[in-house]
């Protein structure tokens, strides 16, 4: 038996990217803009969706909820009467820590693509893994909260670089915290110069309007380019 070297030179995630492209083609066919919504666990993604999902001007929003287990987040959104589809990653080792293109593909038949303009995919709470896997989205948004520490952009650069909008949440807590907001914004700018940021509080509603407007704008942008 002999051994031979075979040159490959192929991005190992090409298979995922191919499926992501197929997802995106399906979404485009239905004129649905897709936002991949990412953060650490507990940063406030679901609350931010509760705030705006029912009321983005001129845009019908749907949500795909990615969780390792359970439907708590989807249940929280149910009262808004917007389409919510639950996707659990649980299998094997107790569940994947992120959504990949194939998981999203499996959920497409359940999505009412004819009835929505904007699909927000709430990824599994995690600052590392989701950044690696495209799912067929048009835009990526991440949420970081002021309870997480100013150094997070430097520790998770991939995530902070992967998105085109960074939301800084929970600013209502600033009076109670030893947190330097300027330092966080500086670190975000170091890791991803020029990235758009919105500083807000999902709890009090402060700064929620720019978030709503951003969603409206992204849906309009994709309609023009589609």
């Amino acid at each position: 038996m002999h051994r031979a070297k075979v040159t490959v030179v192929e991005e190992a995630l090409d298979a995922n990217n191919t499926i992501a492209s197929a997802n995106r083609a399906d979404f485009d066919r239905h004129d649905v803009t897709v936002v991949n919504f990412m953060s650490a666990p507990g940063a406030g993604k679901t609350t931010l969706l509760e705030r705006v999902a029912r009321d983005v001007p001129g845009v019908r929003v749907g949500v795909l909820e990615g969780d390792v287990q359970g439907s708590m987040d989807a249940d929280r959104l149910a009262h808004l009467h917007v389409p919510v589809v639950q996707l659990n990653t649980g299998s094997g080792f107790g569940g994947e820590c992120h959504l990949d293109a194939n998981m999203v593909r499996s959920a497409i038949p359940a999505l009412p693509l004819h009835d929505i303009d904007l699909l927000v995919v709430e990824n599994v709470g995690n600052l590392v893994c989701p950044a690696e896997f495209k799912i067929g989205e048009d835009a990526r948004v991440m949420v970081c909260s002021v309870t997480e520490g100013e150094d997070k952009p430097l520790k998770y650069p991939l995530m902070f670089r992967a998105c085109e909008l960074v939301i800084v949440n929970k600013v209502d807590l600033l009076p109670h915290l030893d947190f330097d907001l300027e330092m966080l914004l500086y670190n975000i700018d170091q890791v991803h110069p020029g990235v758009e940021t919105i500083v807000l509080s999902a709890k009090t509603g402060e700064g929620i309007e720019p978030w709503r407007e951003w969603l409206s704008r992204i849906a309009a942008r994709e309609r023009v380019t589609a």
Partner: protein
């Protein structure tokens, strides 16, 4: 632990190119910006390779330095911390020259004949 999914992607990529032949070595290029933990990747690779043509194969990793290139200044530099502004002009028109790689560079396969294997 994205290393679990990443190692499965490596096994699939290698298996596709092996075309049914047994793989003894997978050579990978991993950029420093990918946040991949080599030991963890190796651990999961061994696990994911079981039952495939990659079972028992060695995983070899070349770590690629993170280098940035400023378009207006046309200078290139290596980074150790994730600061993506140009140190010369402070600007943001900076592209990643290297460090984003996550590719299977080559595989070593077992073959009956001592011949060169042409890649299709």
């Amino acid at each position: 632990v994205h290393e679990l999914s990443l190692s499965s992607a490596i096994v699939n990529t290698a298996a596709k190119h092996a075309d049914g032949r047994r793989v003894t070595l997978v050579s990978l290029r991993v950029g420093k910006l990918r946040q991949v933990v080599p030991d963890t990747l190796e651990f999961y690779f061994e696990f994911q390779a079981r039952g495939s043509v990659c079972e028992g194969a060695r995983l070899e990793m070349e770590v690629v330095d993170a280098r940035l290139h400023c378009l207006p200044c046309d200078v290139e530099w290596a980074i150790e911390i994730p600061a993506f502004r140009c140190p010369t002009c402070g600007g943001s028109e900076v592209e990643i020259a290297s460090g984003n790689e996550f590719e299977v560079e080559s595989i070593e396969i077992e073959t009956e004949e001592n011949a060169c294997i042409a890649q299709k």
